[in-house]
Amino acid sequence: FTGRGRIDEEMLEELEATFLQADMGVKVTARLIDCVREFHKSEKGLGREGLIERLEGEVASVLGSNSASLNVSCSPPTVILVVGVNGTGKTTTIAKLAKMLQDEGKKVLLAACDTFRAAAIDQLSILAEQAGVSIVRHKHGADAAAVAYDAVEAALARGMDYLIVDTAGRLHTKVNLMEEVKKVQRVIAKKIPGAPHEVLLVLDATTGQNALQQAKMFHEALGLTGIVMAKLDGTAKGGILLAIKQELDIPIKFVGVGEGLDDLEPFVPSDFAGALFE
């Protein structure tokens, strides 16, 4: 970019390395490199700083021009179903969401529908207490859909504003487990038409290209309304979000930036884009 007309190949390679190491993947990286060539053609005097600025703008526009907010039902309770593969941060994210809504003066109820994993119900119960919200739970090993049914009933009976449903981690490749979570969704929908109003996929920021496949399969099964990317406080950049947004157009709603109950932030595309280039 010395304004001599030819593009600086070394800079292109450096940008390509940045994109790939951010988990953007081969396709998105190629597309962004094409953007770089376009920018260079249309603005001959564009220096490195100007180029990065253009790229941040391009990335931010792909990710959604404004921060997406939670869907709210016109008649309470708003039901939020939280899903994702094992260990991504679903249970912790639910506790954070609960605290956030509670702090806004909302009445929040949690449903412990992970009836499978060791101490999952105990974990959510402790977090519910920390967040100052109540919880509906059955015994370990109970039918997840039955717990969901009871929770919806309780949310209606108690005039709750929000019901947040925690589900067991499950690999999208396990047909029977995907069927189970579809059943939980159906049971909720039968009890409250239009519910769940929000189906959130929680992704782990350290996950690579498989996150796209996770999003595709969960979207196909349930119709996702939002994505939360947890663990962005680490060194992973979460660049896979670009491919997910481009291919599936699911709004990215929140990011998890720590293990504490306050460590949840709304997703801000320009902030995310800026961090990619740091």
Binding site: N86, L171, Q209
Partner: protein, 291 residues
């Protein structure tokens, strides 16, 4: 698939007789893309491709033609060599043998601890599961519940909230009760958390574990090199356990971890049940990475 893509690359240049370096370059570019799509780290791919090029060009000057299948064979062999030619078992040579499990949040340490206890019991040994995670909600209950599935008591930390002291005391407990293997389950932590990495260093220096195993999620992307090298630099890990391989991730993190630490991947988690732990097979992993 990679073999399909290489077929079409070589079909284009078939009939030109001797392959030039630029022809190999196009085929090698396809291999590079396949590895990046499989989540192998960018820098690891660079070094790996250089090694493959050297091998491939050498072969072609011998034979004049290098079909796609032969290139795949070179890549496959090179991957297997890099990841450790044969599976390595655990070092359980002191009494009690202490195994320390470390890694990022949610990677599968607690579940893997229970799986390890099962595996060790099958070998006729007496494991003690030790809950060193005093931070996570219901972490103790999780390990206790898994222990119950195993028919194994889990060490009770009592009112001790210090991970290092719990670990140290558990070893004394093991000695007093003739338990020959101590499995330390630690809290998930970020490799950039200075204080928590220091806690692990303190645990290591106090207990001198035979095995310090990085438990890493098989679907980890480019960050695998940062995670692995940080844990390795801090602790000089003895190996890694890759979890959640029962999914459909290509698992390039396996290559990244081995390449950047030089330490072997010893075991793999292939499910949520207590029996779902197997030896790591480099040849199977190589095929999986290549897709």
């Amino acid at each position: 698939s990679l073999s399909g893509r290489l077929q079409s690359v070589f079909r284009k240049i078939a009939g030109y007789g001797r392959l030039s370096e630029s022809n190999i370059a196009e085929a090698v570019r396809e291999v590079r893309l396949a590895l990046l799509e499989a989540d192998v780290n960018y820098k690891v791919v660079k070094d790996f491709i250089e090694k493959v090029k050297e091998q491939a060009i050498g072969q072609e000057t011998l034979r004049g033609v290098l079909p796609g299948q032969q290139l795949i064979k070179i890549v496959h062999e090179e991957l297997v060599n890099l990841m450790g030619v044969s599976a390595r078992e655990l070092d359980l040579s002191s009494s009690p043998a202490v195994i320390m499990l470390v890694g990022l949040q949610g990677s599968g340490k607690t579940t893997t601890a229970a799986k390890l206890a099962r595996r060790i019991k099958k070998k006729g040994r007496q494991p003690l599961l030790v809950p060193c995670d005093t931070k996570r909600a219901a972490a103790l209950e999780q390990l206790v519940s898994l222990g119950r599935q195993l028919g194994e008591a889990v060490y009770e930390p009592g009112s001790d909230r210090d991970a290092v002291s719990i670990a140290a005391r558990s070893v004394v407990f093991a000695e007093d009760h003739s338990l020959d293997t101590v499995i330390l389950d630690t809290a998930g932590r970020l490799h950039i958390d200075e204080e928590l990495m220091e806690e692990l260093r303190a645990m290591k220096s106090r207990l001198s574990p035979r095995e310090i195993l990085l438990v890493a999620d098989a679907m980890t992307g480019q960050d695998a090199v940062n995670i692995a090298s940080a844990f390795d630099k801090a602790l000089d890990i003895t190996g890694a356990i890759l979890t959640k391989l029962d999914g459909d991730t290509r698992g390039g993190a396996a290559l990244s971890i081995k390449a950047v630490t030089g330490k072997p991947i010893k075991l793999v988690g292939i499910g949520e049940k207590i029996d779902d732990l197997e030896l790591f097979h480099p040849d199977r992993m190589a095929s999986r990475i290549l897709g």
